[in-house]
Amino acid sequence: MQTFPGVGVSPGRIIGTVRQMPKPISEPPAGEQLAGGTSAEEATAGLKAAATAVHDELKARAETASGDGKAVLEATALMAKDTMLLKNAAKLIARGTSAQRAIWEAGASVSEMLHNLGGYMAERATDVLDVRARIVAELRGVPAPGIPSASTPFILVAEDLAPADTATLDPEKVLALVTAGGGPQSHTAIIARSLGLPAVVAAAGVDELADGTEVFVDGAAGSITVDPDDAQRAAAEAWATNASLLAVFEGNGATADGHLVPLLANVGGGKDAVAAAGLNAQGVGLFRTEFCFLERDTEPSVEEQAAAYKSVFDAFPGKKVVLRTLDAGADKPLPFLTDATEPNPALGVRGYRTDFTTPGVLERQLQAIALAEKDSEADVWVMAPMISTAEEAAHFASMCTAAGITNPGVMVEVPSAALTAESILREVGFASLGTNDLTQYAMAADRQLGPLANLNTPWQPAVLRLVGLTVEGSRAEGHNKPVGVCGEAAADPALAVVLTGLGVTTLSMTARSLAAVAAVLKTVTLAEAQQLAKLALSAPSATEAKAWVRERLPVLEELGL
């Protein structure tokens, strides 16, 4: 019985067979010529046959898809046998270039042309590159890139998943996600939690498992075992029963002794908000507004923004909705706002800081929020990301006042904000801890890097201490201003107990995690949570902090969390 240890990022115990995500298609070498003995006519005919095969495969997939996915697949299928693309490639082949290199270059130039047109066309530029990679895969006789299609559900194993891969992930077909790379804050982890799929990341060696191998995945413990034994089969069956119980949140987060900890949802738009309201979220603790802006070449109008914001407000009448102003930069670049040539984007002009270099965008966003709030019944709070100083907090508060927004706040993601929380909270009404970035900055460890996964966990005592300091800063300020958590940490039931013990007032997470967090929170009193928080702070390492707390929460093992 072979076991691969990794980092568990989304709970669940499941047995299934492995399907490997195909490796990305490598670029055919520049200048690659037709192989000796192959004529240009033969190479062109081969390319056309490969293109037709890709077209037929995409067309067949479009027929079983629905909605937006269907339309995209239909358009992509047409691109595969597009005369413009194939004629350009044929011209290169006639000059002696190999078929693979020819389609690669033809795809690149068409994609660039679309990209330069901007708007909708620019969004389709990546589809051309996807089609090109599929045709090259077909020519090479290797599996097409992307998530494998299969008739029976499987455990998807990959080096790491990109946001584009996860968009095509069908939760009906995928039982669990396992990656050899990636960290606890990687896209794989985030998408797994939002879909409620068990997931383990940074499990070195799993990419060597053969397709069809039967494995047991434990998303809480963070392990993958080949040839599961009877105990593991029983655990997977028990999880199947528990999972349905853990799917329902009653809508009132509290400890065993009735200390209220409202459990809120992180959402990216109106659709998410409606889904979160359906799962009984007590409000929205993080509305990521950049989703209205991403893949745009120009800034959306105030009216357009207001309509997008209102769709979220309308899902939560009478409830709290905390909106985060535009958080562009680093891994979320925007052509009209951020500079793609920064040598160190995570430490660059991102979040609130884009107002230094492109003033006006934030001001107009605040106007749009005020406009949307006027016609809605939600209790709207607004916070700025990446605030580092009390001076910035004061400036943001004055901008909110000017726009007619009454409840400004800040995100605490930069360690300096946690350390000076008292003076920052004199300027604004609340703080919300973004633990993903706070961890990345406190530990100086890039969120996406697998080798740094052990540094990059909010269980690090240093990160917990910064959370504690933010709460203390609020108490010292004297008005009991709320300090919430809206990072991925809040979705970990054991960590949610520790955060409650540290004095955090609300927890906001992906809506799928609400029920599990509520189930564990109601088994401890506030005093017990405070004890567990002290214990975690005293631990010499993240591993021990987590182990010590989990040991004292037997409910986690019972529920398989």
């Binding site: 047409l78 005369t83 693309l85 068409v110 051309v128």
Partner: protein, 92 residues
Amino acid sequence: MPERIATIASRSGLHARPAALFAEAAGDVGVEVTIAMQGDPEDDALDASSILSLMTLGAAKGDVVVLRAEGDGADAALDSLVKLLETDLDAE
């Protein structure tokens, strides 16, 4: 050479789904059909069955385009394609 003019009726212009539907129809008519913006030289006309060409043409709602085709059935083919362009395909 037979030619027709048509005004784009789809709200999103000749992009996205309307472009896909039109390219597919143009590929099925049995004759080679070209498309150009009204006023552009005939030499710059693009293959109407190429979705990528249609996208680079960038025709928006209300823009006028010229369709051209030659050979047997050219007139009937052009008539059916004009009808398609002058329907709001986003509404379907």
